[in-house]
């Protein structure tokens, strides 16, 4: 229970306003969202306390090299890999990496996407046209293909990969924020602010943004899940972080895909880690959407 509470507290700090408090109350009544929060809470705890939870280091060799590494035992819960490393420890440390990837790439996407979207939505006219047409061009490429292209250009460091995945999210956030700002821009309270002589930037930051970010928060949660999958996918295709020792889940999958017949545990456990973290984020995102969007409220 403390996990869910910790999650709720974390979100409450982010948005200390009346409507979001209401949204959190509704979120707590949504069993799916609670399951999501428990899952993600568990991954967050694993990531934070990885050295305490994992019996070995992520690159530590506890067994010998093997073509058919042994499966789960009471000592090695998830078995060993071909290098003799403890798979459970690698997956626990991998949680750090995956959560980092999710958060950083979404932060990159949010920073640029929200700036561009706010610019386009607030100023409109020619700025809007230029920004949104550029976004359309980016959206014309399938997101994953764009990420592959960007990684090829930027290089295969972990940072570059996160930036590449973040950039694919930019047009999504930009369009979303622009749309909600356009919807708010002509409303009476904006007119009221203008009629007292409130300067433009203050209208944007005090009035337009607080009333437009809710769908963006939802999208950010979902994008976090997509980012984890994308990076895992990039790793699987051999475009992941160039450091072979990094316990990235997608990379573990890729390295062991050839051993599916002999040592299935090497594929199943990292696969589950990806599925559960993505599922958790999606459940939270959907729960948030229902809690925030009055149109979906039953």
């Amino acid at each position: 229970m403390s996990i869910a509470e910790a999650q709720a507290a974390e979100l409450a700090v982010e948005q200390p306003s009346g409507l979001l408090k209401d949204a959190l109350v509704r979120l707590r009544r949504n069993p799916g969202a609670i399951l999501g929060m428990v899952l993600i809470g568990a991954f967050v705890l694993l990531a934070i306390f990885a050295p305490l939870v994992a019996p070995y280091g992520p690159a530590e060799r506890v067994g010998g090299l093997a073509t058919n590494p042994p499966g789960p035992t009471s000592e090695f819960w998830f078995g060993l890999d071909d290098q003799g490393r403890d798979l459970f420890s690698r997956i626990v440390y991998g949680a750090r990496l995956s959560l980092l990837i999710g958060v950083v790439s979404v932060a990159v996407g949010l920073t640029f996407g929200m700036s561009l979207g706010a610019l386009a939505g607030y100023f409109g006219g020619r700025i809007d046209t230029v920004v949104m047409r550029s976004m359309d061009i980016m959206l014309a490429f399938p997101g994953f293909l764009l990420a592959i292209g960007l990684v090829t250009v930027l290089g295969r460091g972990l940072g570059q990969i996160m930036i590449a995945v973040g950039i694919t999210n930019v047009p999504v956030f930009a369009r979303l924020l622009r749309g909600t700002i356009l919807g708010q821009r002509e409303s009476d309270y904006i007119l009221a602010a203008r009629s007292v002589g409130t300067p433009g930037p203050r209208i944007l930051f005090r009035h337009l943004l607080p009333n437009s970010v809710a769908p963006v928060i939802v999208q950010a949660t979902l994008a976090c899940a997509t980012a984890i999958i994308d990076v895992a996918g990039l790793s699987f295709l051999g475009l992941g972080p160039s450091d072979p020792g990094l316990p990235e889940w997608g990379r573990i999958l890729a390295d062991n895909a050839g051993r599916l017949n002999q040592s299935i545990h090497l594929v199943i456990f990292p696969g589950f880690a990806i599925v559960l973290s993505v599922l958790g984020l999606n459940l939270i995102g959907d729960g948030l959407r229902e809690a925030i969007d009055p149109k979906l409220r039953s």
Binding site: S195, V196, G197
Partner: protein
């Protein structure tokens, strides 16, 4: 056109002269059309008075109010506020003037930022103009809340915790924060329950007396307008068709449109109600993108004549040969209608029913 307009009154706080506001619609792949929301409107708002502005939905009355506050850019014409022409003023030039003119909105649900608590909403004008901050602003907010009849603890609450009438009071407190001279009240009570309407109207009157406010009161509810207004301007399709003192207008309307509007107000006396004549307007308001030629009302006017009405635009003028008392109407045949020389078209007027 402009030279025939009555000269500005020296006691006018706001002078609107031949104001036009045209919105252009369409564009890509469609033919552009221009909606003449306001098309040549002239009137004064005298210092300390309440000028009622009435008309059907879509006649441009809200647009007039918002253009006076320069929330919209006028297409043509002049707006003079306290001797200063503000029709071309820049945002920077307008900033000090914004302190002197404020707006109250129709919908108390959309006119308050849902993410801003009431205290911050009321304090915002003060902060924007650098008039008060911190505890000084808090004190002013409490003062304003008291003036509009809300408890001091309302400051920490959010708009969704209030009823429509209470929200309208919050909006009122916000508009009073800067001690304005002019308040444009855009249908401030139309969205409220009838019982709450009276409270807000009375509050508006009390505030006017206390702070010497001038109101431009936009409404379609004729009973409310008569109660609160000193003078009334009637709008039809982007133009003013009649201006008069409230009582004069209600007792002897000169323009056929005003007559029709007033005859639609029920009278709370069954005997009078049964025997009075009612003018029934047929058809809808014509599109302001393509207004009728000549007199704009001729398509619906029960007194329409074959001459002049179709091709000659009537000007606002006092009626010839009688005491006008400032009453002006834009009808070619106002005198003939008044004296009964013109009969309305058959079927458009419901005469007194035979009483048993």
């Amino acid at each position: 056109m402009t030279d025939s307009q009555p000269a500005a009154r020296p006691d006018a706080l706001v002078r609107v002269e031949d104001l036009k506001l045209h919105f252009s619609e369409g564009g890509f792949g469609r033919s552009r059309s221009v909606v003449k929301a306001v098309d040549g409107v002239t009137f004064d708002v005298l210092s300390g008075e309440t000028l009622g502005l009435v008309g059907e939905s879509g006649c441009g009355k809200t647009t007039v109010g918002r253009t006076i506050l320069r929330l919209y850019e006028p297409t043509a014409g002049r707006i003079v506020f306290d001797g200063q022409d503000i029709s071309g003023a820049s945002t920077r030039q307008l900033r000090p003037l914004r302190r002197r003119m404020q707006m109250i909105f129709q919908d108390p649900y959309s006119s308050l930022n849902p993410r801003q608590n009431v205290g911050n909403a009321i304090a915002e004008p003060l902060e924007v103009h650098g008039l008060a901050e911190g505890s000084q602003a808090d004190r002013r907010v409490r003062e304003l809340l008291e003036v509009v009849g809300l408890p001091a603890n309302a400051a920490n609450r959010y708009p969704h915790e209030f009823s429509g009438g209470q929200r309208q009071r919050v909006g009122l407190a916000r508009s009073l924060a800067l001690n304005p001279d002019l308040i444009v009240a855009d249908e401030p009570v139309s969205a409220l329950d009838v019982s709450i309407q009276a409270q807000i109207v009375n509050l508006l009157e009390d505030l006017q007396a206390e702070f010497g406010l001038t109101y431009l009161f936009i409404a379609h509810d004729l009973a409310v307008v008569r109660h609160i207004s000193d003078r009334i301007a009637v709008m039809y399709l982007g133009k003013i068709v009649e201006i008069a003192d409230a009582d004069t207008l209600y007792n002897s309307p000169k323009h056929p449109y005003t007559r029709a509007l007033l005859s639609a107000v029920p009278i709370p006396d069954p005997q009078v109600e049964r025997s009075r004549e009612r003018i029934i307007l047929t058809g809808d308001l014509p599109s302001p993108a393509d207004p009728p030629t000549g007199c704009r009302f001729h398509t619906r006017c029960p007194y329409v004549q074959p001459e002049r009405c179709h091709d000659e635009e009537p000007l606002l003028r006092p009626l010839s040969g009688r005491e006008s008392q400032g009453q002006v109407a834009a009808c070619h045949y106002a005198e003939d209608i008044e004296d009964g020389r013109l009969a309305p078209r058959e079927g458009l007027v419901v005469r007194a029913e035979p009483t048993a």
